[in-house]
Symmetry: C2
Subunit: 507 residues, 2 copies
C-alpha cells in the first residue's frame, strides 16, 4: 500500500513528533524537477564568486535559526543538543568551505594549451574547464539530520558546483527537514538565486521517481547498503545512466598493536568505548571491527560494559540492531563479552554490546563476521603475538571501509607501517592513534572507500573535492577569446590558478 | 555456438589476413586476471618517475617496430600507411605524455591540511593523495588500431596510474593486436616491470568474463553504443560494481553560420567533405549532422559527391552502413542529395552519402534523424535566415555528442556566441572554424560528453586527465611523517605541486 504521509517520532518516548507530512505525489516531483531544470542555466552561469555569496547567506540564515532547528532535531532524533549544536555548526561551515572553494577557483581545473603545429597530431589552441552537470538529487541520511541531510555536504557541494538540488528527505526527521528546507529556500530567494534551484520531496516513491527523472543528472546518497544499492541499480539502468554517489555501510577496521596495548590499555579501551557508543553508535565511521591483543580484552569489555546506551533514531533501526546482535549472540560464531546498560525502555533505547572472536575463527567466517550492525555494537578480534603475519593477511580479506585505524606505540613503527599498508587498499582514510568517528571538513578530507562502503570509490562526500562529483569537462578548441568563459580568457580576469602548457600557476 | 578463433581480414579484398587466433578460454582469462592482481602492488608502488621511464621504453619499442606494425595494420584495416604512420606516432606520443604527467606529479592531487583545534569539528593533520584502483580492462576500438587499441590511450593512462591492464583485442585487427601486445610485453619485461602488468585476451566471451572478473576494478571501452551499453550494464550489476568508461557513438553537430556560408562556400564545403570522408568516415568525431543555410546545399552536395570512398574496417560495418543509409533513403524522412563513387567492390568498399532535411522536418523527427550511421554519411539540416531562433532551440534537443562545431565569419560573433551556448551542454568539445575529426593529445583535451556519447560524462579518454579515471583518493590522518608516501611528506622530497592549507604551490 502506498504511504501517503511521513510521520516523525520522538525516539525517547516512541510518540509522534509534529504533524504528519504529506508524501510528495508524482506530479509534484515532476514539477520540482522541471523547476530545477529551468533554474539550471541561470544558476550554473552565475559567476562562482556570486554562488559563494549565496552559500554564505544560506549558512548565515541557518545559524540565525539555530534555536528552532536544534530543538526540532533533538525532538526527532534524540541526538542531544550538544552534539546537534556542533553538527549544525559543521553544516554551516561546510557551506562556507565551498564558498572558499568557489573563490579560490582551481576547482574548475582551467587548462590552456597553446597551439603547436609540430606535434603529432598537430595541437590547436585548447582550453578546458569544468562545468556543472545539471540538476541533481540528494538523499538525506538518518544519522546526521544537518550535516548529511537537507543542507548537508551533498547539497552544499552540488549547489557550489552550479547544480540545482532536489532533496529526498529522510523519514526519520521530516520536521527538521521541512524547517531546514524552509530556511534554505527563503535564504536562496533573499540572495537572488533563481526559483527552483532547491526543492525537497518526501516519501519512498518520490525518491524512486527522482532517481529516474530525465531532468536529474546525478545522485548523492548516504544510507544503508541495501537501499543505496537499489537506487544505484535504478540510476545505472536508466535510458540515460547517471552517476550515483552512494555512501553506504562500513565496518571501519581498527588495529591495536601490542606495544600500545601494553603501555596504554586503559586509555585505549576508554577511547574505543567512547568512539563505539557516541551518538548511540550511529556513525558510518563507527569502529565495528577491533583487532586487539588478547591481553586487552578485559579492559575493552569493562569499558564497553560501562558505556551509556541511548535511544536510536528510528524504531526500525532499534529493531534491526536488536535482532542483528541477538542473532550474532545466538549463532555461536562470536562470544558476547559485554552488554552496556539499556536505558529504561520508554522509546527506542538500546545498550552497547561487545562480541569477541579469535583471529583464526574470524578468518574462517570473515564475510559473516564483517557484517555491520548499525548501532553501538563492536566485535573484538583477538590475536596473539605470534599471529602478526596472519593479522595482516586477514586485514586484506576485509570488505571496503570508509576508514582504517592503527594504534601504535612509538616503539613499533615497522609494525604500524605493515598494518597501514595492509589496510590502505581496503579503506578511504587511514588514521593513526585516534578514532575514526568525527570527520573534519577540509580540503584534504576523503570520506569514501572501496565497495561496499561507497558505490564510487573515486569520489568523496566530505571535503572540498566533493564538488568534483557534480562537474564535467568541456574543452574549447580555437575559440575566440571574447567568447570564452572568463576562467579561460587569455588575461585570466578572475586571477584563478590555471595550468598553461602543462605548468600550474596563475598565468 | 561458441567462436573458438578470431580471424582478421583484408578489407580491400575481403580475404582472410594472417592466421586465425584462438579465442581466450575462461581458465586463461582467469590466469591473466590473477597475474594482473599479483602485479598490482609492485606496479602501483613503483615511484611515478620509474613508471614514466617504463612507458618511455614501451613507446621507443613500438617506434622501433613501426615497419612491421604498420604493414600488419594496413593489411587488416585498409586505413593506409600515411594515416597509420601518424596514428602510431600519436600512440607513442600518448605514452610519452603520460610520462610527463607522472614526472610533473600533480596528478596525485597531493593535499595537506595542518591541524586546527579551533574549527568545528576540530581538524587533525590530513593528507590526501590519489592511488591506483587496481587492475583494469581495456576494450580496444575498431577504428584506431593503435591509438585506441592495445597500446592506446586507455592502456597508457591506466599503466601510468599504476593499474595493470588486460586488453580485450578488437576482432577487426587481431594480428595487429597480437604484434602490438608482443612488443609491449617484451618492452615491459626489458624495463623491469612486474610480470602480469599487461595481458591480452581475444573473443567476445573473454571480454564478458573480464568485465565480471573480481580482480578487475575498472573498464575503459571505445566502441558502439549497443556493445558499450551491454558491458556497462554488466559492470554496474556486478556484486561489486566498478566504473565503466565507455566512449560510444556521436553525431557531432556542426553549424555553419550564414555569414561564413556566404563568404567561403567552397572552402567550407570542401572542408566538410574531407572531414566527413577521411578514414572512410570511421571516426567517433565524424560530423554526422551539419546545420547549414539553404544556400550552401549545392556546394555541399557537389563536394561530397566528388569525395573518394574506401573500404570499411569490417564486413559487418560495411553491411550496417549500407543497410542503415539505404533505410534512411527509403524512409522518406530525408532526401539523398549526393552519393560519392563507390570503389570497385572487391572488398568492403563504400561511397560517401549525403542526405538533406529542413530544420522543421528535422525537429519533427529529431530522435530518428539523430541516429549515427558509422561511415562517410552525413545529414545536412537546412535553415533559412529567419529560422535562427528555431536553430538554437533544435540544437538543445540533440543527443549528447563528443564535439560541437561552429563555423562563423568575423562579422557574426553574437550569433556564434548563441550557437556555442546552445551546443555547450550537449557536447564535450566545442570547436570554432575547424573540423571535429582529429583529436590532439594534450593536457587540455577532453574526449567525452553527455550520454550517449559516453557512459560517464565526468571523464575523458584522451589527454592528460584521462589518468584520473584510474585513481581513487586516500587520506592519511595524523600519520607519522616517516610512514607517509613521499608525495605527502612534510619536506616534499619529490618537489611536486601540492595544495597546503588550501593554497596551491610546491610547499
Amino acid at each position: 500500500m502506498r504511504v501517503s504521509t511521513v510521520q516523525g517520532f520522538n525516539p525517547r518516548t516512541g510518540q509522534p513528533f509534529g504533524d504528519p507530512i504529506e508524501s510528495t505525489v508524482d506530479s509534484e516531483v515532476d514539477r520540482i524537477c522541471a523547476a530545477a531544470a529551468t533554474a539550471f542555466p541561470a544558476w550554473s552561469n552565475l559567476p562562482a564568486a556570486d554562488r559563494a555569496a549565496v552559500l554564505d547567506q544560506v549558512a548565515d540564515a541557518l545559524d540565525a535559526e539555530a534555536d528552532l532547528l536544534l530543538s526540532t532535531a533533538d525532538g526527532e532524533t534524540a541526538l542531544g543538543l550538544p552534539r546537534l549544536t556542533t553538527e549544525l555548526k559543521r553544516t554551516t561551515n561546510q557551506l562556507r568551505l565551498f564558498g572558499e572553494v568557489l573563490r579560490e577557483g582551481s576547482f574548475v581545473e582551467a587548462t590552456i594549451d597553446s597551439p603547436n603545429p609540430d606535434t603529432v597530431p598537430p595541437r590547436p589552441d585548447l582550453r578546458r574547464v569544468l562545468r556543472a552537470i545539471g540538476p541533481v538529487a540528494v538523499f538525506a541520511a538518518s544519522n546526521f539530520p544537518f550535516a548529511f541531510s537537507v543542507a548537508g555536504g551533498d547539497t552544499a557541494s552540488a549547489l557550489a558546483a552550479g547544480c540545482p538540488v532536489v532533496v529526498k528527505a529522510h523519514p526519520g526527521h521530516p520536521a527538521t527537514s521541512q524547517e531546514t528546507a524552509r530556511v534554505v529556500t527563503a535564504a536562496l530567494r533573499a540572495a537572488g538565486a533563481p526559483e527552483g534551484v532547491f526543492g525537497i520531496v518526501h516519501g519512498q516513491d518520490a525518491g524512486v521517481r527522482l532517481v529516474q527523472h530525465p531532468a536529474i543528472k546525478g545522485v548523492g546518497f548516504t544510507g544503508s547498503t541495501h537501499g543505496g544499492r537499489a537506487l544505484f541499480d535504478l540510476a545505472s539502468s536508466r535510458p540515460e545512466p547517471i552517476p550515483f554517489y552512494g555512501e553506504l555501510g562500513s565496518v571501519n577496521p581498527t588495529v591495536i598493536l601490542p606495544g600500545i596495548a601494553a603501555e596504554q590499555a586503559e586509555s585505549v579501551a576508554a577511547g574505543y568505548a567512547q568512539s563505539l557508543t557516541m551518538g548511540v553508535g550511529q556513525f558510518c565511521t563507527n569502529p565495528g571491527l577491533l583487532f586487539a591483543p588478547v591481553s586487552l580484552v578485559d579492559a575493552l569489555a569493562s569499558a564497553v560494559g560501562g558505556a551509556q546506551g541511548g535511544a536510536m533514531l528510528t524504531e526500525r533501526m532499534r529493531d534491526a540492531y536488536r535482532s542483528g546482535t541477538d542473532e550474532l549472540a545466538g549463532s555461536g560464531l562470536a562470544e558476547l563479552i559485554a552488554s552496556g546498560p539499556e536505558p529504561e525502555d520508554q522509546g527506542w533505547a538500546v545498550g552497547a554490546r561487545l562480541f569477541r572472536v579469535s583471529l583464526a575463527e574470524f578468518r574462517d567466517n570473515t564475510e559473516k563476521l564483517s557484517e555491520e550492525y548499525f548501532g553501538p555494537s563492536g566485535l573484538v578480534i583477538t590475536y596473539t603475538e605470534d599471529e602478526l603475519d596472519q593479522l595482516t593477511e586477514v586485514l586484506a580479506l576485509l570488505p571496503g571501509s570508509l576508514t582504517g585505524t592503527v594504534h601504535a606505540a612509538s616503539g613499533e613503527p615497522e609494525l604500524a607501517r605493515r598494518v597501514g599498508e595492509a589496510l590502505r587498499p581496503r579503506v578511504g582514510r587511514l588514521i593513526y592513534n585516534a578514532w575514526p568517528t568525527g570527520v573534519a571538513v577540509a580540503w584534504g578530507m576523503h570520506h569514501g572507500g572501496p565497495w561496499p562502503s561507497t558505490t564510487n570509490p573515486l569520489h568523496t562526500s566530505v571535503g572540498a573535492t566533493a564538488i568534483r562529483r557534480w562537474l564535467a569537462p568541456v574543452t574549447y578548441q580555437s575559440w575566440p577569446d571574447e567568447l570564452l568563459p572568463p576562467e579561460l580568457r587569455d588575461d585570466n580576469p578572475l586571477g584563478i590558478p590555471r595550468r598553461r602548457d602543462g605548468v600550474l600557476g596563475t598565468h
